[in-house]
């Protein structure tokens, strides 16, 4: 009888002790916010373009965390979808064409400055405050801050904003991956030379 009593007491004591420990830990090491949302947000390209249908990358990250599809981000493209699939442990899907296509080359906005009438509409549209200017003053794009989201193009009443491809310079240039297997036989090499000459 005493043995059972001792066992019960010991187990109860242990349960209380560990319960207290867990309770303390859950308070002490409480995780603020939803860490998954932040992880997803880190993978998104942060163009804040709204092509996914949400007003920015963070809201889309929250939506994904709540179970929305991961293929709604055209600026991120395949690589972002793959990374998200990897993170969330789901199957990668092809990009949803409904939200637009992935750009072949990254672009930045460019304001043709002598045509700008200074209406500030593009400034209000820019999600990252990358356009500089004031009412009735010429506006210009801070190229380094522009995410190429296209949002300023639509509101411009005089259509003076172009999206131009980002120029590759010496610092951003890098070697191409070697093309293996295309020159295995002599005719391949000849064909490539001809193609090069024609180009």
């Amino acid at each position: 009888m005493t043995t059972i009593l001792i066992a019960v007491l010991v187990l109860t004591a242990l349960a209380i002790a560990f319960g207290a420990l867990l309770g303390f830990a859950s308070v002490r090491f409480k995780v603020e916010g939803n860490p998954v949302v932040d992880q997803i947000n880190d993978l998104l390209p942060q163009t804040q373009c709204g092509q996914c249908g949400y007003p920015g990358c963070k809201p889309y990250a929250e939506a994904i965390a709540d179970g929305d599809k991961i293929n709604k981000c055209p600026p991120g493209g395949e690589s972002t979808i793959d990374a998200l699939a990897d993170l969330l442990g789901v199957e990668p899907e092809p990009l949803d064409a409904e939200h637009g296509a992935e750009k072949a080359v990254p672009t930045v906005a460019y304001i043709r400055e002598d045509e700008c009438i200074g209406c500030t509409k593009c400034i209000q549209a820019c999600p990252v405050d990358a356009i500089l200017g004031a009412a009735k003053q010429m506006h210009t794009v801070i190229v380094d801050e522009c995410t190429g989201c296209d949002l300023c193009v639509e509101p411009c009443p005089v259509d003076c904003i172009d999206m131009i491809p980002v120029q590759t310079d010496r610092t951003s240039w890098y070697w191409e991956a070697p093309t293996q297997g295309v020159e295995l036989i002599v005719t391949d090499r000849r064909a490539r030379r001809i193609a090069k000459r024609q180009a």
């Binding site: 942060q46 163009t47 405050d129 801050e145 995410t147 010496r170 890098y174 070697w175 991956a177 070697p178």
Partner: protein
Amino acid sequence: MTNLIQLHEFDGGIHPPENKHQSTQRPVKVAPLPKELILPLHQHIGAPADPVVAVGDQVLKGQVIAEPHGFVSAPLHAPTSGVVTAIEARQAPHSSGLSELCIVIECDGKETWAPHQSLYAELNIDDGDELPREAIVERIRQSGITGLGGAGFPTAVKLATGERTIKTLILNGAECEPYITADDMVMRERADEIVRGAQILLQALGAERCLIGVEDNKPEAIAALKTAVQSRKQEHHIDVVTIPTKYPSGGEKQLIQILTGLEVPSGGIPADIGIVCQNVGTAAAIADAIDTGRPLISRFTTVTGDAISDKGNWDVLFGTPVSHLLDISGYRPQKRERVIMGGPMMGFTLPALSLPVVKTTNCLLAPTEKELPANNPSMACIRCGMCADACPADLLPQQLYWFAKGEELDKAEQHNLFDCIECGACSYVCPSEIPLVQYYRFAKGAIREERAAHEKAEQARERFEARIARQEREKAEKEAKRKARAEAAAKSQSAKKAVPATKAAPTAAPAGSSDEPSPELAKLQKQLDGAQTALKKTKEKLEAAQSDEALAAKVPAFEAALTKTQDKIKTLAKEIAALKKAEKAQASAAPASDKGDPNTPERLKKKWEMAQGRLETAEKRLAQAEADGLDTVDALKTGLEKQRARVADAKAAYDAAVKADSGDASPEAKQETKAKPDSQAEQATATPAASSTQANAVDLAPKIRAQQDRIEKATERLNMAKADGLETVPALEKALEKQQDKLAQLEAQAASSSSPATSPGDA
């Protein structure tokens, strides 16, 4: 002293054919001046320099033509005197083959020097005295000195070691890459300047000793350096160390390992372990810059390869076109033209021969097809592991190859891809002739690009969040302001209210009868106005949100707000209407005035006019919508139709009322009607009242009196009209007749109601 230094060894490495003897057979010759010099502004690692000359400027030899941009950058000096003919983008000698801004100088052949002096003269210090460290580093920076070994890192930046104490200076004279002999020739011909440069560098760094590492395949250079060290009496500080020949012992990290046994930590720099490494050519350039004030404007460049007849080294001014240098070296153009800038291991094929020699051009290799055959197609990796044996950085080239090929960049990074020095030893030994280094270069570039993209995304996220925070803050401020204003208004309102409340008795009574609305009504009206402006604003916002994709998510919120405001307006309008009705009821109950009746002609007219106005605005809107091609056109059209119907109704009602009022439609009469709304109103209400059979005699008596008044007035009016000779006379006559008829009717009624209370004594 050499025997005191214990040498270490690095793993891996290869022994390719050296092919150095061809270009060391003759002393260095000064290359003749070309017609023009092309000077790219980005000859170093870091930011490109900013040009400080303009097209057409006359420049002197050694004059600054471009200033450094930022800390990690280097200035550029005119290598000869002449005229700046262009500052334009030209193809630069870089593996990318991209165009960069270049300053083009047309040489005048006079070689007129810009004034320059030694640092001693500048600082008024006796030769041989200790120079201040900062002055040395600044002079090196101003002289545009960058590493002449191949990478081109600005030397002054390398000397700014910050908190780290530097114990050892290493001068790199290993020059391990085949064919290249530029450093060898510098050591042979300018050994004294190298030792002098080492002395200056020791001063600048506060280092104790200097090791000059030279491979044992350069005995002449070693002998020259040793003599120079002895003649400068620097044996106790400077050691010339002979190291075994092995590629790539000239790599900075490898040379440090050989000479000291220390390894530079991954991702770190030699200064982290108390070492600074400089090329021997750089040391000589530093000696020039300090002792004579001559900036870096030329270098030794090896021109070699079987397609060259006069193989050897040239003292070349920067900007000299490669074609010029090849011409003076007796270059025989090949069938498959290929000129390599740099060595056969790490160099790159020049995209064009018009490109200039720059600060990092240590060699131009023009091989024949036989001497350096083009790469064979790569074969499959057989996992032999020879690359791992050859790797001087102790990496796993095979793994890196798989990861780079499969674009598993994170895995490549985990396998220390960035410790790869791209020496090419792995590619050299690969039996399958896989271009391994090219894979690594690609993977490195892709990772860097990804990092840059991530950094940019991070920046964009921060800016986006800052913007959102700012918008919230502005909104809150606006809200606070609005609240403050509303409170102030409420206060003043209550103060006002308190005043009339004291005089409530005298004002309350006429309130019902007077034209002024009661305080409650005024309040409601104000609220309604406020709600309407709010509605307008919300509508604007909604429109903005609809046109703006970024705010698209807010559309529902705005719409909700809109409907709410609309509801509010409706309830307010209802309340106002109810209040008005109540007032009207009160007013009509009061016998003095009954202007609340909605069917008086002037009210009807107002209604009609308002409807007309609305119709016009609706038409305008429709036109606008049609012009803008909006899809609301149909809705607007139906609205317009309805409005038209309403206008027609209003007009009909008005006409009817006018007819009922028997010809008061004449403008004169109308004006009068407006002037005397009360009488008109009375008349209007009196009419139905008169027709009412339930009216008793008590009611009828005043009516009859009123009718009599009216007849009098009508008679007056008729007389006036007659006197003025107006067209309205017949109409007025008719009206008078009608009024008289009515009076007769009323009298008959009064008589028939059998109450003899009143005896009208008027006809």
